[in-house]
Amino acid sequence: MRPPFFVVALAAVATAFFALPLIGLVAEAPWGSVGSALLTRQVARAAALSALASTAAVGLGLALALPLAWVLARTRFPGRRWLRGLVVLPMVLPPVVAGVGLLTAFGRRGLLGGTLDAIGVSIPFTTAAVVIAATFVSAPFLVVTLEAGLAGLDRRLEDAAATLGASDARVFRTVILPGLRPSLAAGVALAWTRALGEFGATITFAGNLQGRTQTTPLAVYELLQTDAGAATLLSVALLAACLVAVVAVRGGLFREPE
């Protein structure tokens, strides 16, 4: 059924709304000075840190999200809905609020501050803090997609495999994981790009220091004050990274419904 004209027109407006900032970035960037702007120590350090931290955040996120998603999808207990709400909360929380929360939990004066200090660990203003902040805000994407993926699996396949003698581990490896591949792909793409773009929680909990905690978004903010052209170019680079991440897992996000 062809949609009515006004629906198509509104969709076109929506497309423009999403496309214009991206087009603007690319169009306004001073491409002539791309070399001098991006081939700097600050940009190199920010890019390396961002890539490392986002990937680590996804790894840590998967370790946290998979068990959570499993419990949410396959068990029944009172308060399950609250647990799901809790887990989704970091996704919708204002990032700076998440940062303050992380400080009150893991900061020197935080809930775990004394304990951490006793074992000689201080988290704020470290690269670990960058990873923790990024994990906190991006892992919910993994929980949500993995729970949906698990809920959508055909249990009969697992039962059949078990009947044929496969151990739990083997069933997980050969039946469940492959079945989860589309949701894993979608979750990882979303989580990685969310971790990459994290700003508010990072600046509050991890701070801003080149080479240690200044991620690419923080570098963009700093550059905006001194060299807007370089900030625009770096923004385009970030945009390209996110685009590649999303397209690379095309199968999960953009697969046409059969």
Binding site: R109, N208, Q225
Partner: protein
């Protein structure tokens, strides 16, 4: 609205739209003020006094690092008054044709703050250079960060302290927050930032004479203000005896 008679309505419509147009610009005392983060408390009070003096007027205040608001202004943000924590940022805005002639309206001092119950090891500014001390400064591009580094360099401990910097806060208030929360061992902020609220959570260490830097605040009306009359009026309010008294009460120097 349904026009009843074509010809009779036109002159009234023209009058109405002319009035509306003239009310759009310059006739109100509403003002948009972009100011350095360190002016938060003082300017909020000045704006309050201004609104009392001009009933019905509304002052919109934005506080951020001077370099941040300068970037916004360069990007075309509409404003009436700009107030920066250094003359350099204002001079750049002037060179770009964004503001009218600026005037100096206040000065400030730098102070070192440490958490009230922090390690007793940090007692003087020299201690900031000792290994293991976690220092937070504002970003170098932000006036507070530039002034702080200049003061440290004057004391010969610039690179020692730089090695101890664990974070370059986005503005001077970020430095205050890090120290107040006990996450940093020390930070350098302005004397005016030590509000009663902050004083309850930090100890203040004054800077020795040889580390004193001249912190100068500059204010100007926008070259193309949204509300020209209000812009002038607000600037006058800041420089009035009442405005100066408010600034002095917040530990600013008023030349």
């Amino acid at each position: 609205m349904i026009a009843r008679s074509g010809r009779a309505r036109v002159p009234r419509a023209v009058l109405a739209s002319a009035l509306a147009a003239s009310c759009g610009r310059g006739d109100t005392y509403d003002a948009t003020v972009l100011a350095a983060a360190s002016l938060s408390e003082a300017f909020t009070e000045i704006a309050s006094a201004y609104e009392t003096a001009h009933p019905g007027a509304e002052v919109t205040l934005e506080f951020a690092a001077s370099s941040t608001i300068a970037a916004q202004v360069r990007a075309g943000a509409p404003f009436d008054v700009l107030a920066t924590a250094d003359e350099r940022t204002m001079a750049e805005a002037r060179r770009a044709g964004l503001v009218d002639l600026p005037v100096v309206f206040a000065t400030n001092r730098l102070v070192v703050i440490v958490p009230a119950d922090g390690p007793a090891a940090v007692r003087t500014i020299e201690d900031l250079g000792r290994p293991g001390v976690a220092v937070v400064l504002a970003q170098p591009a932000v006036p507070a960060g530039a002034y702080a580094r200049r003061a440290l360099a004057a004391m010969g401990i610039g690179s020692a302290v730089e090695a101890n910097v664990v974070s370059n806060a986005l503005d001077v208030k970020g430095v205050a927050a890090a120290v107040a929360m006990g996450e940093a061992d020390a930070g350098i902020v302005y004397a005016s930032d030590v509000t009663p609220a902050l004083a309850a959570r930090v100890r203040v260490l004054p800077l020795p004479e040889r580390a004193a830097v001249r912190v100068v605040y500059s204010i100007a009306v926008a070259a193309d203000p949204q509300h020209p009359r209000a812009a002038r009026a607000f600037l006058d309010a800041v420089r009035s005896p009442k405005g100066r008294a408010i600034l002095a009460a917040h530990s600013f120097g008023v030349p």
